[in-house]
Amino acid sequence: MSLGIYKGIVKPITSGLGITYRRLKHKKVTVSYPEEMREQFPRTRWRHFLTRYESGLERCIGCSLCAGACPARCINVVAAENTDEARYSPGERYAVRYEINMIRCIFCGYCQDACPTGAIVLRKNFELADYHREDFIYTKDRLLEEYPGQSDEPYTSNRKEWAEARADEKRR
């Protein structure tokens, strides 16, 4: 074996494999999504939910403040008046229509900041892909779905607590 072949081929290959070998001992960074999900940061903001009070009444009062704050102008709120026969939220006003265009949304969370009642919140559900454009218009019905394992807190500020809650959720 000439020196040339050793220097030009064998040495680089073995040293390269050496890096591979050393890497094998490191911890894995990829996860096998979708079976496994990566832990998310506490303030991650994805899909919106409209929350309710414990009594079952909607928190949203149809005030349009979220629509006013939204830089992408992707929220449409149409309000109406509660009556004693048909009561949706406490007080005089509720939203008959509430729509978010998820294609336009930039997930800035300004809507959540603007909301005076904590009705609209962005949670960690990021699997938002869909087949039809129309399906990206999240209507009030869809937004009122319950977030699995949700707490009333918009997000948990303590990372550890959150990880525990998440683990709990997984166990269930």
Binding site: C63, G68, V77
Partner: protein, 673 residues
């Protein structure tokens, strides 16, 4: 007005800047001249100051002979403080800031925190002042007062007592401006509440204005309630087409629906007020009966078609005979009316067009409408003759009332019924119905020193009263009549007699009646009633209804029905299905006033532009466009492309409209030449 009189001025100092202002001007106004702002709630430039809210407090002092300034020990309300020589005003000192914070904190003690659901939120003076001048947090932890919310004061106005800051603007509006005194305060102190007497319905022809002037969301519009927040809205300038006054308004729409109309300031027309008819009369824009495709009659049914086929049907009917006519009468722009006349005269070789539905024709002389509405204010005496102004021309009524309230004009009302103007009239001449001409002549006779005993007996008005009224009449008396008078017997005689007694105005009633008259519609040989009668008798081959429902404007419904049934061919061009719709041979959908560019001539010959606010519904077209397209089929040529071109063509043909086309008009409009 008399020649400019010398105005006495004084020199004051505002924030160390010297300023010369008319003596007695309110400080709150004076500081505006320098661009300073004083926050206010209860002060309104068109009403008397009352100093109820204390928001406008400033520090005031006086220059001493030695040059120093001696401040008053307490802050002063700028809205009730007249300027006087040597006054020194500070609007921006530490103390003023502290005091304003205090005032706002007091006001907010009782004000609920329901901005998110309040219709005023986002355009609320209380929110704004709190943001700019108020404390950023609240120290008030006790329970706030609780009062009825959303109390329906009338079908237009909703009262939320919790939100009221007791500024008294609404109460003063009904006392000083509209004059119906429907609102008053009851109870005292923190419990003070504006309300109607005995909580009865708030009945006013101008109730909508209190919604706009209330500095909080205490008085809100029942129609607009929860329809939108200010940031959801697009706002465009518009002209009200509900009557011939042509009030300037803002039209607020959301997506493509009109949701609200607010007053827009134009001193020559409506100042800043609106009447309820205009402010709340916008439902038709969103009506499910709007027409949006052309229809033609095939067999017994009206079927949808395209414009081309609809035009062909019209052309066939209107060119096969010259015995055709057209009736208009509602709110069409000058452009529409001009294009209509041109099509009839040149294309259909007919001039039988009329827009006017009164018993006798209006007097052709345009000077009858010339003295401006604003000039009523300066008249020393006003004679309202045969017109219930508040119903017919509500904003003219406000001018007349202002002339009396502010300038002490003597108002004489002559009518066969009680009218709203009676409340402030110097003299009310309540005559027997039908004796208008006699009374007008009697006034002229009394003025000439002749005896009016016979007339007094006929009209039922005592001779002394007639004489007393005549004594008030001078050449500068504003004599106000409306086209309503033309429905009374002897209308022309009455107008003739009145003409010599002062500055006579005979105001038209519908949005563009005056424009139609100027353009020369109604110069045919037949008047509207005659045209209908001909149609009934089968003497008319084709009839064109432009934006008018004859059932609405003509009292004789049998005549209308027979006419529409018997006319061989009927074109109904309208924006909404109307009474004539079932009889139509062709239906042409037309844009409503806010859906196309156009100009409108109001009762005092003021021409104003109304740019398209909303898109046209479906295939609807502005009427002038349809006329222009029909003309093209009859005689090829260069079509008109926009309202401005039509307006220029109109200006070239009718001298009064020269240089008054859509693009040539300023925002505030121009009087016709």
């Amino acid at each position: 007005m008399a020649a400019a009189t010398q105005i006495e001025t004084v020199t004051i100092t505002v924030n160390d800047l010297e300023l010369t202002v008319p003596k007695g001007e309110l400080i709150v106004e004076s500081v505006k001249r320098l661009g300073f702002e004083i926050p206010i709630f209860c002060y309104h430039p068109r009403m008397k100051p009352v100093g109820m809210c204390r928001m406008c407090i400033v520090e005031v002092g006086f220059k001493q002979p030695d040059g120093s300034v001696r401040k008053m020990p307490k802050p002063q309300a700028a809205c009730t403080l007249p300027a006087s020589e040597g006054m020194v005003v500070y609007t921006d000192t530490e103390a003023v800031h502290r005091d304003r914070k205090g005032v706002l904190e007091f006001l907010l003690v009782n004000h609920p925190l329901d901005c998110p659901i309040c219709d005023r939120g986002g355009e609320c003076p209380l929110q704004n002042n709190t943001l700019f001048y108020g404390p950023s947090t609240s120290r008030y932890v006790e329970i706030k007062r609780h009062l009825p919310k959303a109390y329906p004061l009338s079908k237009y106005v909703t009262l939320d007592l919790e939100r009221c800051i007791q500024c008294g603007r609404c109460v003063r509006f009904t006392e000083e401006i509209s004059g119906d005194s429907q609102l008053a305060f009851r109870f005292r102190g923190a419990n003070m509440q504006p309300s109607t007497f005995g909580l009865m319905e708030f009945e006013s022809k101008f109730s909508g204005n209190v919604i706009e002037i209330c500095p909080v969301g205490a008085l809100t519009s029942s129609k607009y309630r929860f329809r939108a927040r200010p940031w959801d809205l697009q706002t465009r300038p518009a002209i009200c087409t509900n009557c011939s006054n042509g009030c300037n308004v803002w039209m607020d729409y959301r997506v493509d629906k009109v949701v609200r109309i607010n007053g827009r300031t134009n001193e020559a027309i409506n100042e800043e007020w609106t009447c309820d008819r205009g402010k709340f009369g916008h439902d038709f824009y969103n009506s499910p009966d709007r027409l949006n495709v052309p229809l033609v009659r095939r067999g017994t049914a009206l079927v949808e078609t395209n414009w081309s086929e609809a035009y062909s049907d019209c052309i066939r009917a209107f060119t096969s005979s010259t015995n055709t006519a057209g009736l208009g009468g509602n709110a069409n722009s000058n452009e529409d009316l001009f294009a209509w006349k041109k099509l009839f005269n040149e294309g259909f070789k007919s001039n039988e067009l009329d827009y006017n539905w009164t018993k006798v024709a209006p007097i052709a002389d345009p000077t009858h409408a010339k003295p401006s509405i604003a000039s009523i204010e300066d008249a020393p005496s006003i004679l309202v003759f045969g017109s219930s102004l508040a119903d017919e021309l509500p904003i003219v009524f406000l001018r007349v009332r202002k002339a009396w309230f502010k300038n002490g004009a003597k108002v004489i009302v002559a009518h066969d019924q009680a009218t709203d103007a009676d409340s402030f009239a110097e003299l009310v001449l309540n005559y027997q119905p039908g004796t208008e001409a006699t009374l007008a002549q009697a006034l002229a006779d009394a003025k000439a020193g002749k005896s009016v005993e016979a007339a007094a007996k006929l009209t039922g008005v005592p001779a002394e009263k007639i004489a007393a009224a005549a004594a008030h009449l001078t050449s500068s008396t504003a004599i106000i009549t409306s086209h309503e008078l033309l429905n009374r017997p002897g209308a022309h005689d009455a107008l003739g007699a009145l003409k010599g007694l002062g500055e006579l105005r005979n105001y038209a009633l519908n949005a563009n009646d005056q424009g139609a008259a100027e353009i020369g519609i109604g110069t045919g040989t037949k008047r509207s009633a005659q045209i209908l009668a001909d149609a009934r008798d089968g003497k008319l081959d084709a009839l064109w209804l432009l934006g008018v429902d004859p059932f609405e404007v003509c009292e004789d419904h049998d005549l209308v029905q027979a006419a529409l049934e018997n006319v061989a061919f009927l074109v109904v061009q309208a924006h909404t299905k109307n009474g004539a719709f079932p009889y139509a041979s062709v239906v042409l959908p037309m844009t409503a006033p806010a859906e196309a560019d156009g100009t409108y001539t109001n009762a005092d010959r003021h021409i104003q532009r109304f740019g398209a606010v909303l898109p046209a519904k479906g295939e609807a077209k502005p009427a002038w466009k349809a006329f222009s397209e029909i003309s093209l089929r009859l005689k090829p040529g260069r079509p008109w492309f926009n309202a401005d071109e039509v307006g220029r063509a109109l200006g070239a043909e009718v001298a009064a409209f020269a240089n008054h086309s859509f693009n040539q008009l300023p925002t505030e409009g121009l009087p016709l030449v």
